[in-house]
Amino acid sequence: MIPFEGLFFFVVLAVVLAVAAVLGLCRISLKWYGLAVTVLMCVLIYNTPQEFAMLAGFYLWELVLVMAYLPIRRRCAKRPVLWLFLLLSAAPLITVKLGSLIEPLHIIQLFGVSYMSFRALQVLIEIYDGLIDDVGVAEFSYFLLFFPSLSSGPIDRYRRFTSDLATKFTREEYIEMLRRGFWKLMTGALFNFVIGNLIWQRWLAVLPENGFGATVSYMYGYTFFLFFNFAGYSMMAVGASYILGIKTPDNFNMPFLSRDMKDFWSRWHISLSTWLRDYVYTRFVAASLRGEWFKDRRTGSYIGYIITMLTMGLWHGLTPAYIIYGAYHGLLMCANDLLDTRSKRYKKLKKKPVVEVISVIVTFHLFSFGLLIFSGRIV
């Protein structure tokens, strides 16, 4: 069973959410129920002995690492210790990704490993920061395995997630969550199954495999397809979360209205871009500023953009298309920043309505070309 695909999943989901709605309306905490159905869903999703063993191994590995790091951090705030734990925590993810290059590792596959690993890494980093000083086994297990966002995100944050678990929503608040959750589920389904599928069948599937015109058409078609497909998945995941009493953050916010690439990354796959901003870019730049590594302070930021976006590419997979996609976005972010900081003329001009419209069109083409690289059609 794959989340948000096939009739069986949706029948199970409907039953699970209907019971959640009754419990929520009766103001009964959804924490234990949510954890129980997450375990049930994991059994159904990882339905071969190998898959389930792989998930169980991964889960125990991450749980042991987090539980071991907590007392260690209380005594020792040394950065290399954090690095060691991060490396160990990311080891399953790295192994799965390397499987595409190294044949013997190919047998190690784990559905959802990219998303689950980023959840676990985030917990370790915030333990180091002193922002998380206690982790419950039930809370961490539920957070790590939370089934609606297992396959395609969004990537939630532990402190935000557990604050929802601890909140006793009023009946009115839960009715509002139920209404929004249902609306998001329906809109997501429309985006994914109707619009996304139509674009695929009527536009992309009938295009010739080669030719400049076909590739340009593919670029536009793929951009719209990916948005409706991916935003649709995300909305369904967020919708199901709301009904389970978890306000998983939205992952998309009208990306086609982006005025520049920085704006684009605050609107597209938001939970991934903010994760990378908070745990990769910010950390690197802060270290470069504290250590005064560069003459020009902004140099650290540019290198930070390249590292962050390459990480984003590698996170998707170790293929040339994904790596070039990451490098492309790193360079675009640098160009965006240079324009913002070095050109006073651009700073003045960009607030004019005509320039805003042109910026939206240019940005759309820049990220569409990026998605064409991402699609693997031209690389």
Binding site: E126, D129, G130, L131, R157, K262, R277, D278, Y279, Y281, T282, R283, V285, A286, L289, R290, R297, R298, S301, D337, D340
Partner: protein, 76 residues
């Protein structure tokens, strides 16, 4: 203390002294970006000894100079 924090903020934003209104929306107006935010955290740590972790507060909690000043002062 307020002036000191404001001075640091103006410096990282590249603003003239007195140019920033206390209630201006720093991110929405494009005055502060991710880099500016990190620079602010590093400078606050260096000059005032106030350590803020990157994900300790959301952008909504640090949206204006007045909000930043209040957050920093509560940690001194």
């Amino acid at each position: 203390m307020d002036e000191k924090i404001m001075e640091i903020l103006e410096e990282v934003c590249g603003a003239e002294p007195g140019e920033l209104e206390p209630d201006v929306e720093l991110f929405e107006e494009g005055i502060l970006d991710s880099f500016g935010m990190i620079s602010l955290f590093v400078e606050l740590e260096k000059k005032l000894g106030v350590k803020l972790e990157p994900t300790e507060l959301t952008r909504e909690e640090l949206a204006t100079p007045a909000m930043i000043i209040a957050q920093v002062k509560s940690r001194v």
